[in-house]
């Protein structure tokens, strides 16, 4: 089968399933009794197994199969959920992840050795299931390879196991013999309908000939299917014979243990059935050291959070299509181009006074505006895409640090532009690690302070005006402002006097300064040598900002403010000589109109006084060395007052054109890294204008 075209889909979906497995396992760990979560996990594992088997990744399938067996035992309560089991399954997930990544990199899945893990799984399954009286699973692997061929259908060991297990949980295995009318033209379509109908009421174990051959019409006029179902034979027969052009649908109970042929079915298969006995998994007892994980840290306690008991967690898979982000960018470009052309048409209509045209264009204007906003929305993705990798990280780190921490995530539905989402992961990860490592204290310490042993760490996203705010909160020790002051003085970043004059809130913000590498504040866990200044610069490069509030022994809040999107921003267009520039509205304080007399000098630097505040000014034309045209109006001077943090600056321009939504385009590789420019945009008339990077003007 040509599988390449499905590769992308397989990889994407595998990653998704692994993510849901991780999520599910985490909630199972918190609430081992929750059967609905267990079922969800089982389903995910099952799908993953099916997919990898279809794609021919036998090792992946093998590992998932064993994992699924284990999960199934948990589900049927033949085994009890224990930290040990959870750890092994987590290890499976990590291994599977590695395999999927290997496949994605075009390498072989075999690079990862799974035999050890499989041994561990089997050891657990065996060790515990002996007394749980589950004859099915262990017996199956000991049974002779390749079952008999009841009714001309031979089943493999695995299939047999599945059937036996299904039987033990109250399902009935059936053998269905289906014959299609001799006159039928679309045999494959009919067989597909039969399989579909069966799928709805049962689990299809096997078909002869296999589904692939059915699809390609590689069969005569009959085929056989083995299913397990809780429906009775009559209902199944009814469901199948309801499909037109089906002449015979015989349903008989199927007994995998016996080889007697069901009465009605003369072996219809033309090709000899090929039994594929699976080698019985080596059931050697796992070395004790491997199987027993360190029991040091108790798993995050199921604590007073009954809200987490959402049975509605069953995902309602909405209908969706996967689209390459590049296609969306192209679409965005095209829409931008459309708008540009529309503006041109409007200008033509105006100059030639064509009312008909103008009216039509007004209609078109509405459509293009809608179109634009839809395209923008399409690019938005929920922050859960980043957030959902954190619970696992928090769990692992909590164990590693010997702490008890409960992570609460809120507002994971909040949407952000795809480009922002891609960039925000690392800074968030860093802040979280910080909170876990330094924020939350050790359980004993917490108890001594009269706090609950379990620390609370929150990851909260929400809308705030035109921004999205993401907060990382903890109820830990807080940041000691004096410690920060001392450190900053030690590093020679500020003088002792300056430090003492700083209010606590500002002193804490010193941690964001570059060079404030704080061995005491940041240890090996929280950063691989990455300081808070990196977090800040990353977030500022996304057009956002980060701030911190903290109270000793009550905890800290790191607040990240991000623009909804990076692709379209509101900007003020200004003119210098003949050149047009865009200044992002987010950094504009105000625009004022002054006369040359208002400009004073302080130490040869030009400043203005605005509402009692002294603000330095820069003449944009000189800063950007705009070629001089004829002298402009010297009497009226326009100043755009911009701010970065608490710093303000006046930018002197020749003219203010107005406020406009602009689409940000990069200048490309060739012009990357130019100072003072944040990019370019195409204006309504098709001209290109540069976007100023206000922070580098300061």
């Amino acid at each position: 089968m040509e599988t390449n075209q499905y590769m992308e889909m397989f990889l994407d979906e595998s990653r998704e399933h692994l993510q849901s497995l991780n999520d599910g396992l985490l909630s199972l760990e918190n609430d081992p009794e929750d059967l609905s979560v267990l079922n969800e996990i089982f389903r995910n594992a099952h799908t993953l197994k099916g997919m990898s088997a279809t794609m021919g990744y036998t090792k992946t399938a093998e590992l998932t199969h064993d994992m699924e067996n284990l999960l199934d035992m948990l589900r049927k309560e033949q085994l009890k959920v224990s930290p040990e089991i959870i750890d092994v399954i987590f290890k499976c997930l990590d291994t599977l992840q590695e395999m999927v990544e290997n496949i994605s990199n075009g390498e072989s899945e075999d690079l990862v050795d799974v035999s050890d893990l499989i041994r561990q799984i089997n050891a657990i399954a065996k060790g515990e299931s002996a007394e749980a009286a589950a004859p099915a699973a262990p017996e199956a692997s000991a049974a002779a390879p390749a079952g008999g061929s009841p009714g001309g259908i031979s089943i493999t060991d695995t299939e047999k196991t599945v059937i036996v297990e299904a039987k033990s949980s109250g399902l009935v295995p059936y053998h269905i013999h289906v014959e299609i009318s001799e006159n039928c033209i679309l045999k494959s379509a009919r067989s597909y309908m039969v399989m579909n109908a069966l799928d709805e009421i049962s689990d299809v174990i096997k078909s002869v000939p296999p589904a692939e051959d059915l699809e390609q019409e590689k069969f005569d006029h009959s085929f056989d299917v083995i299913i397990v179902s809780d429906a009775d034979a009559k209902a199944i027969e009814h469901a199948v014979s309801a499909i037109s052009e089906i002449t015979v649908a015989e349903v008989t109970e199927f007994d995998p243990e016996k080889t007697e042929a069901p009465a009605a079915a003369p072996a219809p298969t033309t090709e000899p059935p090929a039994p594929t006995p699976e080698p019985p998994a080596p059931a050697a007892p796992a070395p004790a050291a491997k199987a027993a994980p360190p029991k040091a840290a108790a798993p995050a306690k199921k604590d007073a959070k009954p809200a987490a008991k959402d049975a509605k967690k069953a995902h309602m898979g909405g209908q969706s299509v996967r689209v390459d982000i590049e296609k969306l960018d192209t679409l965005m470009n095209l829409v931008g181009e459309l708008v540009t052309n529309k503006v041109r048409l409007e200008q033509i209509g105006m100059t030639h006074r064509l009312t008909d045209l103008t009216e039509t264009l007004e209609q078109m204007d509405r459509v293009t505006t809608d179109l634009q906003s839809v395209v923008m929305k399409v690019r938005m993705v929920p922050v859960s895409q980043v957030f959902n990798r954190f619970p696992r990280m928090v769990r692992d780190l909590t164990k590693e640090l010997n702490k008890e921490i409960n992570l609460t995530i809120e507002g994971e539905d909040t949407e952000l532009d795809r480009t922002v989402i891609d960039e925000i992961g690392d800074p968030l990860m860093h802040l979280l690690r910080n909170s876990l490592d330094h924020g939350v204290e050790h359980p004993d310490e917490r108890e001594a302070k009269g706090k609950p042993r379990t620390g609370e760490v929150g990851l909260i996203a929400r809308h705030e005006g035109n921004n999205v705010v993401i907060m990382v909160t903890d109820d830990g020790a807080g940041i000691n402002a004096d410690k920060i002051r001392n450190k900053a003085v030690e590093k020679g970043m500020i003088t002792r006097e300056e430090a003492d004059a700083l209010p606590d809130a500002d002193a804490v913000r010193l941690i964001f300064l570059p060079g404030f590498s704080t061995a005491e504040v940041i240890t090996d866990v929280s950063g691989r040598g990455v300081g808070m200044d990196v977090v800040r610069s990353k977030i500022e490069s996304l057009g956002g900002n980060v701030d911190v509030e903290t109270k000793i022994d009550e905890g800290s809040v790191f607040k990240i403010k991000l623009p909804l999107t990076l692709a379209i921003i509101q900007a003020m267009l200004v003119k210098v000589q003949d050149e047009m520039y865009a200044i992002p509205l987010g950094s504009i304080d105000s625009t004022i109109n002054i006369t040359p007399d208002d400009i004073k000098t302080v130490q040869n630097k030009e400043v203005i006084v605005l509402r009692g505040e002294i603000i330095p000014i820069a003449r944009l034309g000189e800063v950007l060395s705009v070629p001089k045209g004829e002298a402009t109006n010297e009497e009226d001077i326009f100043v755009v007052v911009v701010h970065v943090g608490d710093h303000k600056m006046g930018i002197v321009v020749d003219n203010l054109i107005g406020q406009q939504e602009i689409v940000i385009k990069t200048l490309g590789k060739l012009l990357s890294g130019l100072k003072m420019l944040a990019g370019a945009t195409v204006l309504g008339d098709g001209h290109v204008a540069m976007i100023l990077d206000v922070s580098s003007l300061m």
Partner: protein
């Protein structure tokens, strides 16, 4: 001759888009030429390298434009009705090249292309030139696009 979407895949012949800079004729391999555009407004980019004339709007994308004469150290000439922007593509990078006029698409026999050293010696600008083709007594100087774009380069 093998022919994949119109491109000649022969070792012995190359097709070049020939254009003029002042009185000299130059060429880019046709495989690198994306399109040829009339002169449009070029927006100056502050702080850009000197040989970059500015950026243009190509169907919604912002594209840098290199002033080829300035890049090759030739004297400047004013724009004319024949001035064109040749959009070339190398790997993932698209760049416009400002030229005085586009003359034609020529097929040059590989045997008629001389290596540059014979002519330019160790001239500093020789790195921009990949060969000199002779066709009907005319000389078409072939340019090395990656050096001209200078992504790996000196600035």
């Amino acid at each position: 001759m093998a022919n994949i979407d119109g491109q000649v895949v022969s070792d012995s012949e190359v097709q070049v888009v020939a254009f003029k800079l002042r009185n000299e004729e130059y060429g880019f391999s046709i495989l690198n030429v994306q399109e040829i555009k009339g002169l449009t407004d070029i927006t100056r980019v502050p702080f850009a390298p000197e040989f970059i004339k500015g950026v243009i709007n190509l169907r919604g994308s912002v594209l840098p434009v290199i002033d080829l004469k300035r890049r090759l150290g030739l004297e400047d000439t004013p724009y004319t009705a024949n001035t064109r922007i040749v959009i070339v593509q190398l790997d993932e990078v698209s760049v416009g090249m400002l030229v005085d006029a586009v003359t034609e698409v020529r097929t040059i026999n590989a045997n008629d292309i001389d290596s540059t050293r014979a002519v330019t010696g160790t001239d500093a600008n020789s790195r921009f030139i990949s060969g000199i083709g002779k066709v009907d007594g005319r000389l078409i100087i072939q340019l090395n696009i990656s050096e001209i774009i200078g992504l790996t380069g000196e600035e």
